[in-house]
Structure formats: C-alpha cells, structure tokens
C-alpha cells in the first residue's frame, strides 16, 4: 500500500518550517480546500495553513444543502436562481456576480458528484433537490442533513488525491505586506510552538466567518473573524459588515442550529398562543420566507410578549418516525442531546441566533482584493453575492464557485512571477516580538470576561433590530473592551499546544471586527436585509443607500466609504414573501 507523509509531525521530526510556495491558502474549510485544489490543478505549488485539521472546519456544520438550478425536481433556471438571490439580498447583491454564480453552479455540482459527493438521489437516480427559504423552485441539492460534512470530507479526499500540503494546526495571525503587496503570512505552530514565516506569491484568505462575536451564535468556537481582522490590519477594505444573518431556528439554550430543511419539509413555527404567527408576516411563504424575515417576525413576537421565556416553538411532531429517521436523524439527535427533547414528542424551543456574515473582505468575482497578491473566498469574503441577506444553500455553493475562481486567479497570478517567494527579513522577528509582549505579561485580566461582555452586548445592541442610541452605546463599550484587551493575560507561557495564546489573539480579532461592524451599521441609516432599524429608519432607502459600505483602517482610524451596487437586470422592488 502506498504510504504518504506530507506534513509536519512531532513524532516524525520535521524540525522547522520556513517555507515558500506559489499560493498559500489560509483556512481549510470548503472554500479554502476548493481554492487549493484549483490552484494545484492550474499548475501552482500550493499549501494550506489552518488552525484546525481540515475536516474539523466549520463548513462541516452546514446542514441543509447547496443551491444550483439543475431543474431535477421541477422547472428551474440559472436566471430564476439569480432573481431569487437578488431579491433575497434585498437588492444589495452585485448582480453581475450573482448571474455568474448561478450560471456556473450546476457545473460545479456535477463535478463534486463525479469526485464522489454522496448527494441524495431521486427515484430515477438523479440528484434530488429540495425547497429552501426564499427560493422559487426546489433547488437545493443535499446529503440528508449533513451536506456540509459530506462536502468537507470530499474536498479533503481530493486534497489527498493531489498530495497537497497542509500546515495543520498552524494559527495564522498576520499578513506580511511589503512594497509589492502581500509576501506571505506569519503563523504560530500550535503543536510545537514558535512563529513560522510562510512566504507566498499569492495568499488566499478562506478563514470563514465571525459568528463568535455574538453570544449564542450557531458558529463553532473557531469562527473568530481571523481573516477579516488580518485583512483589516493589512489595510484591506471590508465590505457590508453591518449585515449579519440571524438564523431563525437556533436551539435554546445552546444556540445550535436546527436546519432550515425541516421547514422546507413542512415544519412550522408557533408562538406562546400556539398560533402559526408567520401568517401575519409572510402570508404566502409562511415559514419559508427569507431568513431575515422569519428572524424579525420571531424577534417581534418575543418583544411583544408572545414567546415562552424568549423562545418560539418549532413543531416537527407531524413528521412521524419514518420521515424523521430518513431525513433528519441528525436534527433529532441534536435536539435530544442538547435540549433533552425528542422532536417527535414535543416542539423545540428556538430563537434567532447570529449565523452568517454577509459582509467581509471586498473582492471581485475572482477573489481579488485591493491589495496585490491577496485573494479571499467563502464567508470571509464579500463578492457581493448575498448583499443584505443570504439565502439558505447559497453559502456552500459560494465556497465552491468562488473558491475555485479564487484558486485559479491566484495560481495564474503567482505563476507569472519567476523565482521563489520571499518574506522581508524583519517580518518574523516582528511577529515574535508581538507574541513575546503578550506572553511576558504577568498580570492582567483573563480574556473570558471581555469575550462574554462582547458577545452579550453585541446581541443586545447590534442584534436583529438596531437603533442609533444602542449602536452608539455599543461603540463606547467596545472602546472600553479594547482598552481592557491591551492588558489581557495569557496565563499559559508554554510553547506546546498553547491554545490560551491563540484564543487571546482570536479575541483581538473579534474586538477589531465588532468595532467595524457597528461603525458601518451606524452609518447605514435605513432598513435593508438583515440590517433592520424599525425605530429610527424603518424603510429601505434606495436613493441614499443602494450601495456597499467599505470600512478600512488607516492611521489608527476607521475610515468609512461607499461603493455602488452593480445592477444588470433587476431593478429594486418592494420585497415581500
């Protein structure tokens, strides 16, 4: 049997890494791995850097599916997919990017299938498709309720098939920017300790989202805005950061996600009076209205006193044992394990929870950013595909389409340069000094209180509904938290597996990002998509705000600017479901 050893290992004695690659991908979820595969296939020498083993990435938590207009379960077309996505985005998505995405999605699905994706089939053996929120046709390809898991394993398999190197459990925390753009990244080797300098001709950020800025987020512990903050600190603009999707069905109290697919397959929402309240908010689509619409309906029910201690009920009892077992064994398992409730017997307590960041590093359709040699793809990026609100099933597809495109573009860019990539001489010692300062501090505050206050206050002041006064209060609070962070204590002084250090660095990322999010939110004086200001600016204002916000960090100052939305076919209309 062939045996490959491709990466670092403590027990296998690879001493030190000072590596140089054509393309370096930071983050090894679906977007990162897809990008690496494409860059490899385009002829580049590519490596991934990830703070987790690839299959532990948060893409694996995506449950319900991946959208492409295959037309297997009813009439559909890329145009219809695009129209739904544009409407779902509340007209803030860039329509050129959306059209391209919807057109390329089916080909990518077929390729994933040929690589071995275990998608569910219809009776004829073709890919099955299910209805999802905000979609006019059954468009979501799926693998039971573990679609993200299946794709994550599949892409890892394809990585191994190509022998692509992974710097596993390397915590990247700084982009190195030189005169000619990005030269590489600095990473802390979690397993062995020590700063590693990794040079590259092109760097692709694929670090995922920022959900842990909020308490009770659906996101994994690892989703701490790393790539967005690294980009910000390197001078890149971040786009539409005020748009955070709140998923309507997160389990109380854990915040774990109950897939939208259960509503797609007929689950419904009840308030404390046992009424299907969605008929007042979205009489046509009911529970399958777009996520922002359902989350706002729930928050309104909660705010107006028709909840059960802050929870609504998700009723799946009518599914019956067979349907539950076949399609939602994962969901039932989740409910029994973390809420102690069997959804066949009792409805589940749910509430809206922070789930997905529509905003991110501003890129074009090839993942290019404003800084030379830096690319981004997946949740960390803002193409903008999702605009003000993302449709369920579009983010997994985004990781594949735009991961692939970024991988191709980065490889082409890197292959144009001769020689091997090099980092400026001072970069590594700069990084070592930064970490030494943190590690040498003997007194200070543990990160926990700061992290808890950040999460709770973001929920309170920058949640489903926003208003001027609360956002201003939040900015003040963030300033205070950032000051406290200057004295944060890393108790662990060791080199080997010092997650105390990496978690403190993550908190720094989160604080920087929260500041940008709230700043952008204050300036967007309208209600659009997931950014809802019912008390001061309840209406969408296309005349003044049909544009993307851009936040950048210049000279220790947050600079906010705007850029136009690209409109091709669909003029803004009133958005109802």
């Amino acid at each position: 049997m062939s045996s490959r050893t491709t990466r670092r290992a403590i027990v296998y004695g690879l001493d030190d890494v000072e590596s140089s690659h054509d393309v370096l991908v930071i983050g090894a979820g679906c977007a990162g791995m897809r990008a690496a595969i494409e860059a490899h296939d385009a002829g580049a020498d590519v490596a991934l850097v990830s703070k987790l083993h690839p299959t532990r990435s948060h893409s694996g938590a995506a449950r319900g599916g991946i959208n492409a207009a295959l037309g297997n379960a009813g009439e559909d077309s890329p145009e219809a997919h695009a129209a739904d996505t544009v409407k779902g985005s509340d007209y803030l998505g860039d329509q050129d990017a959306i059209e391209l995405f919807c057109k390329e999605a089916p080909g990518d699905i077929y390729q994933l299938e040929r690589w071995g994706a275990l998608f569910d089939r219809d009776d004829e053996g073709r890919l099955a498709q299910r209805p999802f929120g905000g979609a006019g046709a059954p468009r979501t390809v799926h693998a039971a309720d573990v679609t993200g898991h299946v794709l994550l394993q599949l892409l890892y398999e394809q990585l191994l098939a190509r022998d692509i190197r992974v710097y596993e459990e390397y915590f990247a925390w700084r982009l190195v920017i030189g005169e000619a753009g990005c030269e590489g990244v600095l990473a802390w080797d979690l397993a062995r300790g020590g700063v590693k300098a990794l040079a590259a001709k092109a760097v692709i950020l694929a670090t995922g989202g920022s959900g842990r800025v909020y308490q009770g987020s659906t996101n994994a512990h690892a989703c701490t805005a790393d790539g967005m903050a690294m980009a910000l600190r390197a001078g890149l603009p971040l786009e539409d950061l005020e748009f955070v999707q709140f998923h309507p069905t997160t389990l109380v109290p854990s915040g774990l996600l109950v897939t939208e697919a259960v509503r797609g397959e007929g689950g419904y929402l009840l308030n404390a009076d046992g009424a299907r309240f969605m008929r007042h908010y979205a009489p046509e689509a009911m529970e399958l209205a777009s996520r922002d619409v359902v989350s706002r309906a729930e928050q309104t029910e909660i705010d107006e006193g028709r909840s059960i201690g802050g929870s609504l009920l998700l009723d799946l009892r009518h599914f019956g044992p067979e349907k539950m077992r076949e399609r939602f064994h994962g969901t039932r398992d989740l409910a029994i394990t973390y809420a102690g409730i069997d959804p066949l017997e009792r409805p589940l307590p749910v509430r809206p929870g922070a789930h997905y960041h529509m905003g991110g590093v501003a890129t074009d359709v090839d993942g290019r950013t404003e800084v030379e040699n830096v690319f981004a793809a997946g949740e960390v990026a803002c193409v903008s595909l999702h605009g003000g609100n993302r449709l369920g099933g579009n983010s997994l597809m985004e990781t594949i389409v735009f991961g692939r495109r970024a991988g191709r573009a980065a490889a082409e860019q890197a292959l144009k340069k001769s020689g091997s990539a090099e980092l400026g001489s001072g970069a590594r010692s700069d990084g070592e000094r930064e970490l030494a300062r943190l590690l040498e501090r003997r007194e200070g505050e543990r990160p926990k209180a700061i992290r808890d206050e950040l999460g709770a206050s973001m929920n309170e002041n920058f949640g489903v509904f926003r208003e001027e006064e609360k956002m201003r209060r939040q900015l003040e609070l963030l300033e205070n938290l950032r000051e406290r962070y200057e004295e944060v204590l890393v108790e662990d002084k060791g080199a080997v597996w010092n997650s105390d250090l990496s978690q403190a660095l993550e908190l720094g990322f989160q604080l920087d990002l929260a500041l940008c999010m709230v700043s952008a939110g204050l300036e967007r004086r309208e209600s659009r998509g997931a950014h809802s200001r019912p008390d001061d600016y309840p209406e969408r204002d296309d005349r003044n705000f049909l544009k993307h916000s851009l936040v950048r960090w210049t000279n220790d100052w947050l600079d906010l600017s705007w850029k136009p939305v690209t409109i091709t076919k669909w003029q803004p209309q009133r958005r109802t479901y």
């Binding site: 990466r7 403590i10 532990r56 948060h58 077929y110 089939r121």
Partner: protein
Amino acid sequence: MQVRLQIRRSDPATGETRLQLYQLDHVRPAATLLDCLEEIKEEQDGTLAFRRSCREGICGSCAVRIDGRTALACRTSVAELLAGGRIPLITPIGNLPLIRDLVVEMEPMWQKMRSVQPFLSPTSDSPGEGRETVVSPALLEAVHKEALCINCGACISECDALTVSPEFLGPHALSKAWRLVGDPREPATGRRLQELSREHGIWECTRCYLCNERCPKGVDPRDAIAKLGAEAFAAGVTRDRGARHARWFVTSARTTGWLRESELVVKTLGVAVSVTKIPLALRLFRRGKAPLPLPRHKAKGLEPARALQRIVAGQDRRGARGIVQGERVLARIELVRVPEPPEPEAEDF
C-alpha cells in the same frame, strides 16, 4: 450543580503525567463535559490543553477518555457522569502519542487513512461536463453510515488490535476504505480489496466490537470491516490467513454444525506451519483444552441450520449485502423487503 473532575495533565518537556482535581461550583444541569473543560480553562487554569471547535458533535476534535471509555466531550452530559457521586477521570484518547494534557498526535491516524487512498478513483468513462452519474439511491445506501465519520479517533482509541499490533490499519482507515469500495461509482474495487486483504488489513481485526460501541456517529466501523471481508470473499480474494480462518468457520458449520478447532489450525496456517504447532496441540489436549479431531460427529439440529443458510443464500446477500450487524443496522433492516420464508423444514427450527 457542583462538578469535580480529575484530569490527567502532562508536561510536554519531560513527558511526566499527573492527575489534577478541578472543582466547578455553579454548573448548569444541561452542561456538557466540554462546557466544563471550557470553564476550567477560562476561569481557573489557562494552561489546560484540549482540542475543541464545533461543540455539537460534528467536527470530531474533542474525543477524550472518560473513566476509560472514549467519547466526545461535547456530547457527554456531565450530570450523567456524576451519578453515584463519582469523580470522573478524564484522560487523552488511546493508541496515539501524547502531545500535551488531552491533546494527542493524530498523524498516525491520518497516515493510515492516506494509505488506503481515500478518494474515488478517477475514471476514464466519467460522464461529460453536463450531468451527474445516475445511481440508484439504494446502491448509495451501502456507504451511508461510513460517510458519517468525523475522524474523531474514538474507534482508534478503543481498538485492542491496534494496541497489540500498531501497524494494523485500524477501524478508522478501514471504514474509510469501505466508503470507497462500497461506492457504486468506484471502478477499482478489486485492486483495493487485494491491498486491504494483506497483512495488517481487514483480517487483523479481532472483532471485539468496541469501535461500534463507542463511535459517536453510528459509523459502526466493525460492520465496515465485515463488509470488506465479505466483498473480498465474493471477489475470491481469500488467500490471507484471516480469510482462510473465517472460511473454515463457514465450512465446518455447514458440514458438521460445530467449529472443528483442530482442523482450523491446519486450514488457517497450512500443513507446513501446522506441523510446528503439534507440541502445543498435544499440551492443550493433555490439559483438556483441545478436542480430539476424530471421530467427527454432527451437531444436533444441523438440518434447520442448513435450511437457514439456504434461505439467506436465496436472498441474494452475497458480499456486503449479507452483513447485518449492530443494533443501528437492525433498526434499519425492517425497511428491506425480504422474500417470503419457505416452510420450516424441521420442527425444532
């Protein structure tokens, strides 16, 4: 709720380990073991090292041993652990080298996974860019469970065969192997079965079923190994000692209805090697631990057993389709349409 935990700590420099007792005084009743580890790290001891990410049983980071049993910390209710007033002992998972505290080096597991070439073999006759491969849902069902694997290492931790024989491919890599051999789209199953049937492959499993027992995702790795074995048989790949050993069970059950252990040695090892075992056999016989090979007798009620075998044979259950093991599988099997059973051939059937 008050929680006390004993956690095995280690010094990465010296490799020395010790137990440390932690106490948490205000834990909510629904808390998981991972919640408690987080609280210890955040509020009491920042130096405690463990892996975690998703906190919902899908990333596979946080497998640990709890009083010796491997489980995901994030799926373990701490209230249940405390039942009976015990102080749970939390240690790193087994059969992998220690890095620090609860963190182990997973590379040996990944290395074995890589060695089975865990990806669909590229085909020359794959469909064009236009469409998907058409595959019946029933055929894909064959690898459904194995695809749920989250690489947490619980099966590796529990595998006694791995402890004794570190080169054994092990339950994780072999489940992954079945994920591919069992995929109706995979063209290279013959080559794979040949390779997997070699030393340290399929037949090194000792069938203790602890991997099935402890897998947090219901992958049932032992079932996957059994399916690989059955497919190897069906494909005529039976040269390995383990395969010959298994085949003798079937033969002796069919012919005399009981396991003829003395002949088993010859059938498994071959005549030449068996001769060297004669002194051992004599010693065993003297102590009453080995039956005499002759005279042969037939077990009572043999005919109904043969009838059962014929029924199963008539159901087209060759290869992996014949493998029905594990409670979770039994729960699924009621969905399979079985042919009407023929009339029983004997009253004691």
